[in-house]
């Protein structure tokens, strides 16, 4: 073991995060395959390439904190602890899905793990996160709300109103902009007059941080600072993590608005193999990693079988869950 031997806890954390990232990537690849086989309907927005942000950030939360995300949220839901098979069953529109087949890929929910969705109107969920933080403060709880959104959200009114209220009342919320450089197919420079999303934090007088999301431990550590600040009464933080999706906006998008060079450049910065290299440097053997990866693949394969075998929601239950 190398210079970092003393810090076994860091290695264990990275191992845990690597496992999640690896599992999520294989999960999303499996879901892409299932989509092409016609087993998944509607839209399917993959986050392949962006996993490190969700995984690193959510690892900074406690179980009783809240996380809320966009329609590109498979990673967030799994990172929050929802079993992959329940997520896959939801993508398949099955009763065993985490939203009982009512939500689909864009509306994953898991109340038991304080995962509040899965929202498909860009930016529309941001005030909901602020509401969770308001509730925490109202009840004098030291819980934190974490809100994920893309760079496209930064142009929406709900983003600004959410930030404004959170700042005004110093609410314990961490805003995380997963900036993948494209609002659907529109490049950042064509959609934002100021490409630094965290510049908006200055206007609201809140803390900010901004960095490239290529090292999952760094993501974890820097977001943990904001989580701790929120928890200790220091108010909200706006964080922008630059990241990149290797696939198109959705399965329907060949992403012809990006150059091959750009995609290849970001693939070289992929946080997943980088984490693996770091683990090897810290003394985890290739055999150990292969075993871990094989376990993930087995679990993903099992999730597809589970989803395939789960029945569709019975039509008699069409009207269930409209009202409490």
């Amino acid at each position: 073991m190398s210079k970092n031997q003393a810090n076994g806890a860091r290695r264990d954390l990275l191992l845990r995060l690597y496992r999640q990232m690896y599992q999520i990537r294989r999960f999303e690849e499996a879901s892409a395959k299932a989509y092409t086989q016609g087993k998944i309907g509607g839209f399917l927005h993959l986050g392949i390439g962006q996993e490190a942000v969700a995984v690193g950030a959510i690892a900074a939360l406690r179980d009783d904190d809240w996380a809320i995300a966009t329609y590109r949220e498979h990673a967030h839901c799994i990172a929050r602890g929802t079993p992959p098979r329940e997520v896959m069953a939801e993508l398949f529109g099955r009763i065993a899905g985490c939203s009982r087949g009512r939500g689909g890929s864009m509306h994953l929910f898991d109340a038991s793990r304080n995962f509040l969705g899965g929202h498909a109107i860009v930016g529309g969920h941001i005030p909901l996160a602020v509401g969770c933080a308001f509730a925490a403060k109202y009840r004098s709880e030291d819980r934190v709300a974490m809100c994920f959104f893309g760079d496209g959200s930064a142009s929406q009114g709900a983003f600004h109103e959410g930030l404004s209220l959170a700042a005004l009342w110093k609410l314990p919320v961490v805003f995380i902009c997963e900036n993948n450089l494209y609002a659907m197919g529109t490049a950042l420079y064509r959609s934002l007059s100021v490409e630094d999303v965290t510049a908006k934090a200055l206007a609201y007088g809140i803390e900010r941080d901004r960095f490239d999301g290529v090292d999952v431990l760094e993501i974890h550590d820097r977001i943990k600072v904001a989580v701790d600040r929120a928890r200790s009464g220091g108010g909200p933080t706006l964080i922008e993590v630059r990241t990149y999706r290797f696939r198109g906006h959705s399965m329907a998008d060949p992403a012809k608005y990006r150059t091959k060079d750009e995609v290849e450049m970001w693939k070289k910065r992929d946080a997943l193999p980088a984490a693996r290299r770091q683990l090897e440097e810290w003394g985890i053997t290739d055999d150990e990693l292969i075993a871990l990866e094989a376990a993930c693949e087995t679990e993903v394969g099992e999730s597809v079988r589970f989803a395939d075998q789960s029945p569709e929601p019975p039509v008699e239950e069409l009207y269930d869950h409209v009202y409490a």
Binding site: C98, R102, F109, L128, V130, A324
Partner: protein, 337 residues
């Protein structure tokens, strides 16, 4: 009978204005449940844009009476998020016109999150404030939006017409576990009526027969109830007995009471603010046509706003609004008088 028209000299000690009834409902529910809070523009220090929340800041403090910036989309969403995790917000829109800025939260979030999460989240929230036209407020401040909100499954829609109904229904709304759209009226806030001082809860989906009659059924709600009662008194002098039914809630809707009345009177007029096209009244008329077809002696008539944005000038506004004369004429048409 209408409590709205009780002469002032005979007002009993329990007579309240509509705004006092709303305030009592909120205050009583806040006393019994710390999870309930009121948030909105000018609800605290200003004492309410229409003085509905007057005195509540002093009574409950800033933690529970929360003044907001002018950001309906933001604070409506905030309230809903708080409801998702266990609070019971009362979200006040200074008027329902401004809810259009928060439409996404009401429609895409409030009406959908329970369903699309497979029932995992409960959304105990009341969105309330005055709706409809008042006096010469112009096109952007005169919307009657109850029909718009009633369109969406997942929302409940409450449209009280008396202080008693307002209090009893608002208490029910605050205790309900669903998102409730509660539409009051600026014009009605000062109107007085008897309100029981016990803990009366009025259930949703139970219509109130505001005036019994035998010749024609009028279905109407909110401040149009008063207009229709005026029309009914006028028609009585001409020998026509009109039954005025106030559903009080549009979702859920008490179809049985309406249909039973129409089967008795064989005639029906639906009266409401807002436009005719794609309105809640059109759904009521359709319901009556389908479910009581064999009992009808005339097609169902409707009295609504003129099909124009609300004008400012008094003469034009008056012409654009449903009024007692228009209701009288419609009743006479269906009665072939």
């Amino acid at each position: 009978m209408s409590t709205r028209r009780a002469p002032n000299a005979e007002v009993s000690p329990t007579a309240l204005t509509f705004r006092e009834a709303i305030r009592q409902a909120m205050s009583e529910e806040m006393e019994r449940d710390d999870r309930v809070f009121l948030m909105g523009e000018e609800v605290g220090q200003y004492q309410g844009a229409y003085k509905v929340s007057e005195g509540m800041l002093e009574r409950f403090g800033e933690r529970r009476i929360v003044d907001t910036p002018i950001a309906e989309g933001g604070f409506a969403g905030l309230c809903l998020g708080a409801a998702m995790v266990g609070l019971r917000p009362i979200c006040e829109f200074m008027t329902w016109n401004f809810s259009l800025v928060a439409f996404d939260t009401l429609i895409n979030n409030a009406a959908k999150i329970r369903y699309m999460s497979g029932g995992q989240f409960t959304l105990p929230i009341v969105f309330r404030g005055p709706g409809g036209a008042a006096h010469m407020l112009g096109a952007q401040h005169s919307h009657a939006l109850e029909g718009v909100y009633a369109h969406f499954p997942g929302l409940l829609v409450v449209v009280p017409s008396t202080p008693r109904d307002a209090k009893g229904l608002l208490k029910t709304a605050i205790r309900d576990d669903n998102p409730v759209v509660f539409i009051e009226s600026e014009v009605m806030y000062g109107q007085k009526g008897d309100v029981p001082q016990n803990q009366e809860l009025i259930p949703f989906g139970v219509a109130d027969i505001k005036r019994p009659g035998t010749d024609c059924t009028i279905v109407t709600w909110s401040k149009m109830v008063g207009v229709c009662l005026d029309a009914a008194r006028s028609l009585e002098t001409e020998g026509l007995s009109v039954e005025v039914i106030d559903p009080r809630t549009l979702r859920p809707f008490d179809a049985e009471t309406v249909l039973a009345s129409v089967r008795k009177t064989n005639r029906c007029v639906v009266v409401h603010e807002g436009w005719d096209v794609a309105s809640f009244g059109s759904w009521v008329a359709d319901l009556v046509h389908r479910e009581a077809f064999d009992h009808l002696d005339a097609p169902v008539e409707r009295v609504c706003n003129a099909d124009v944005p609300m004008p400012y000038a008094h003469s034009l506004e008056k012409a654009a609004m449903p009024d007692a004369e228009g209701v009288v004429a419609a009743v006479k048409r269906v009665c072939y008088k």
